[in-house]
Symmetry: none
Subunit: 247 residues, 2 copies
Amino acid sequence: MSLDKNAPAVILVEPQMGENIGAAARAMLNFGLTDMRIVNPRDGWPNERAVALASRADMVLENARVFDTVAEATEDLTHVYATTARPRDMIKHVATPAGAAKAMREMTAKEERAGILFGKESFGLSSDDISYADTIITVPLNPDFSSINLAQAVLLVAYEWFQAEDETLDLVLRNEERPANKKEMVALFDRIESALDARDYFEPIQDRRPVILKNMRNMFQRFGLMESDIRAFHGIIKGLTADKKEK
Amino acid sequence: MSLDKNAPAVILVEPQMGENIGAAARAMLNFGLTDMRIVNPRDGWPNERAVALASRADMVLENARVFDTVAEATEDLTHVYATTARPRDMIKHVATPAGAAKAMREMTAKEERAGILFGKESFGLSSDDISYADTIITVPLNPDFSSINLAQAVLLVAYEWFQAEDETLDLVLRNEERPANKKEMVALFDRIESALDARDYFEPIQDRRPVILKNMRNMFQRFGLMESDIRAFHGIIKGLTADKKEK
């Protein structure tokens, strides 16, 4: 993964706890963001509790820049998002984290810089802070329990940023193997059938024999057997059909 | 938002820090999940550090159930996910959190229960734990900095679950059958294992016994067995283990 130098800035506005700044740095680096900006941190800067929490993401803290105001922290940006649950009485576009991530990817591709404001732990962003933003990001949350902490908000927004690039297919089969071919399938069916016949399994239900075998074939076809699965079944059948040991 | 009683269970396997259990409870409730299960917590249960961190999500902890094994914790579930970054040498479907969330919404709509395994902080899930799962969830992460903590992993998976809510419409298939639950799966494994043991199958390869059994569990998990398939396999095993007739 390439760390894009035009990737969005994460702007923490008046953060209170060093631990949360450190955890935010980790969350950023997890998803390829490195430009941290801090507006007026309560406990000054640098902050050793932040460093303790950041672990290997300390490079994000080392490069973090501190500003006195939101206006100064966002000077070089072309689009600013404000994360808040409460748009209140202002008319502003509201995006989901996923929608904002998609838009920011497009900005980055055009070499425009975006930034995301995150408010202080106790009260979030003020309406004054929000007035510096173009667009609000609201994380969809259970309305009955909607408090997430600062680092979690950063995590979700950064995650969506990363996702918006990621081309990972939703479902891939981990696989250096090949699927079983039909010759192998039929050989397996034949072996089970012969083994059952050798033990007179169908004796009392002779009339249902064709239906049972057909159902069995259908069942195995549905499983998407790999070549290694065929070998595993031969092993199991060999084990199950061995003579029982007298103990 | 309605809390769906068939929503997925979050299963913490051998969690070490009470704080992380509490934070996981918060992350769950933020996104509408309430069924927490804990396998063999390091510091016992209840855990007051978990309660301190959970804040208003303490109801999730109060209703949490504790189990001795992954097998017991997943008995009533029909589809189990394992969150891990490292699928290593096993053949299993791998989903993103978003892909898994979509699939779980479909399951819930059919009144099937899913669950998600999260490993301990230090090592994540063991390959043995993973062998009880149908599908792996891997969070896409910056490959150069890919460590996220337990509560963050829960947060991301729960977030995607909540996000997927609106996407499920009429994908529900008419289906008289139901998927096998894990109790039925484990009973099948036990039967095969006992039958193989009774025939000294593992005698010459005693050291490989655990690996062979784990691979067998992984193979069967991948097939998406229905309850009727379980019965079919019991029938086949009964037939194969009968005494061979003299002709």
